[in-house]
Amino acid sequence: MNNDALMVRAAEGDDEAFRVLVQGWEQAVYAFLYRMVGSREDAEDLTQETFLRVHAQSPRYRPEGRFKSWLFRIAGNLARSHLRRRRLLRWLRFDPGLHERADTEPLVDEVIATKSRHAAVHRALAQLPDRQRQAVILSRFENLSYAEVAVAMNTTESAVDALLQRAVANLRRVVATESEST
């Protein structure tokens, strides 16, 4: 049974259909969210929240074969909202230590064991603006086409193209800088 059919069944109150849907997508959603927010605990909470929203919105879902984009749109909105809230709370606490830490530091820590150039790329990825990082993750890790990324990010294909151009330029710049300094 495909995603659209499962969503239709879930909207009719079929919990088993929703379970199949959740267990089919939870790993991908979690990986996306972890790469976005850089914290296991937050990514787990946001994964649950994503599927709660999917369930709540299932009666309004239109089965047009775009479930993946729709799912990542919900997850992406939650991730960016979470990041905005986290930055605001840090600002309100005025904790310099927190201000200095990168939002996705744990993600960087986890991959730092690889070659230094790779570590530099991952550090750069963690430092990208949220929307650039979101476009990179959806395109490079989740293998969404530009059209699918555009739906997931509520934007146009040309805007996705532009986001990725800027992301690549930023990543290349950081890698070049780090290569010069080593």
């Binding site: 790993q27 790469r35 709660l52 709540a56 905005r84 605001l88 290349r172």
Partner: protein, 157 residues
Amino acid sequence: MKHVQDRIPAFLDGELTEAAATAVREHCRSCPECDRVLQETKDVWAAVATAPEPRLGQSTWPALARRLQARQPEPRQGRLPGRWPGGFRYTFAGLAMGAAAAGLVLGLWLGGSLPQTASDVAWNTLLEEGALLVEGGDWTLDQAYLAAGDEAEEDQP
């Protein structure tokens, strides 16, 4: 050759038409600068691809099923404190936001337009986030809020 370099990410992602892809490929063969950018971009993506896949420890389904079950009968106690005489239901969050809106209108009426301080911005954001976090919140409201955030968001580092 900036326009060719701008096409390189889409070229590598297979998003160009065959004709456009051929044009980029052939240009890079004859232009050392664009070929260098092409190779660097390939290197960056290759390095990005080495990131380990974050693994979910255990399925979210059991916890999710419990939360869904808890939502089934009635919204949580305290979330819908009562009804207006006509049967119209209200929430504390709705009342708080209504009061805030009324206060803002009154303030503007009395004092004209007010400059926004950092604390105003923080408070307004908290109000918006509060609306966003209401369990089973209004999806339309979420979308409107997030769309507004998108427009304001700075993409440049």
